[in-house]
């Protein structure tokens, strides 16, 4: 899948907005939202939040986790830990990118926040490369990857699974064929002569 498809999946998350207009409840297929009251916070899917923001119909309320102190802690923890730490949620990077991209004026300290999130992302990406190498060296047939988000998992595709497939293929064909020659009886001469 490409990043835009993961983003698409992440856009279903609920985000909080403050509309500048009033409307009745809206009944979408994915659920009902509203009523919209100018100045009062409410929840909508992220894609709708971004769409309304682009039409200048709302302000986006930053999610709780998108706050400098909080992020600094996450970053420190991620640096310290050998393993991947738990992120605020499955689509933290998508949410950050969309909200900071469409509504940075609604977010206090937007540019610092952007930098810290990018740092966290980079630390995790380099950890990811190290773990891939370790996984291939230690056997390369099974791995556990708790706390990796969907976008991060997607970033090792197709490399990791296809290298694991390749390794398996090499193991299977090279070993299988070794045993095959030892007790093989392939087609007989008479069979061949019928073919001719």
């Amino acid at each position: 899948m490409d990043p835009y498809e993961i983003e698409f999946i992440g856009e279903n998350r609920i985000a909080s907005i403050i509309p500048n207009f009033s409307y009745d409840k809206i009944y979408l297929i994915c659920g009902e939202f509203g009523p919209f009251r100018a100045g009062l916070p409410m929840n909508v899917p992220l894609w709708l939040a971004v769409m309304l923001k682009q039409k200048q119909k709302c302000r986006i309320v930053p999610p709780d986790w998108m706050e400098i102190d909080n992020l600094e802690n996450i970053k420190e923890e991620e640096k310290r830990s050998r393993f991947f730490t738990k992120m605020p949620h499955e689509h933290y990077m998508v949410e950050a990118k969309l909200i900071l991209g469409a509504a940075s004026e609604d977010i206090p300290n937007a540019s610092e926040i952007k930098t810290i999130i990018k740092d966290i992302w980079d630390i995790r990406m380099s950890k990811l490369r190290t773990s891939m190498d370790a996984l291939m060296k230690s056997g390369g047939s099974y791995g556990r990857l708790d706390h990796l988000t969907m976008m991060e998992i997607n970033s090792v595709k197709p490399l990791l699974p296809s290298a694991m497939n390749e390794l398996l293929k090499i193991q299977m064909t090279s070993k299988k064929s070794t045993s095959a020659t030892l007790n093989s009886s392939t087609f007989s001469q008479s069979g061949t002569s019928q073919n001719m």
Binding site: G140, V156, L159, I170, T173, S174, K175, S177, T192
Partner: protein, 191 residues
């Protein structure tokens, strides 16, 4: 491997040293150094692995297959010392694929072990090449399938970094349409 796979057909076109166990009347041309019409039993010739496989699997076998030199002990030692120093593209561009074919002619199974360990060791070269700034040089020593893995990883890497940078993905012309248009333009310019 699939019957219709173009890659497998190209791989199985690689040559391996074989010794013919029987006379082959009229097939002297298989040995470039042979001037006779016939090929004599006992002659050693390099033939493509697809032919070698088919002839050695007959009962009784018509040829014995020898290992190409990169799978023999001298090279196996080099690989186990440090597989990452080898320019696989020059040495054997289908190292793993051909290796899988010839491993069966190595009863001790050492070729199989070398293949697995070499791939494991060299995986870090793929990893670093996929994010290298100088990708041409990083790709150079890689075998054909290692290159394929790397190119795929580079594509992911590129898609991800452009996603991080950009707001929206633009809708674009379909690949074949674009390529054919490019080719047509190039042809027009040549006229």
């Amino acid at each position: 491997m699939s019957y219709l796979s173009v890659t497998d057909i190209l791989v199985s076109n690689e040559k391996v040293p074989c010794k013919f166990l029987h006379d082959l009347p009229k097939l002297g041309f298989l040995d470039p150094s042979c001037t006779d019409d016939d090929l004599k039993a006992g002659t050693s010739v390099e033939i493509p692995i697809w032919l070698a496989e088919s002839l050695s699997s007959r009962r009784p076998p018509l040829v014995t297959v020898d290992l190409p030199k990169v799978y023999k002990e001298t090279y196996r030692e080099i690989f186990s010392a440090d597989a990452c120093t080898v320019d696989m593209h020059k040495l054997a561009q289908y190292f793993y694929e051909l290796g899988c074919y010839v491993a069966k002619y190595d009863i001790k199974g050492e070729v199989a072990t070398t293949l697995v360990n070499t791939f494991r060791q060299r995986f870090k070269m793929i990893l670093s090449a996929s994010v290298a700034t100088d990708s041409i040089n990083a790709l150079q020593p890689l075998s054909e399938c290692e290159r394929d893995h790397t190119v795929a990883a580079m594509t992911t890497e590129k898609a991800l970094s452009s996603w991080l940078k950009r707001g929206e993905s633009l809708l674009t012309t379909a690949t074949m349409v674009a390529n054919h248009r490019k080719r047509k333009r190039a042809e027009m310019e040549m006229l």
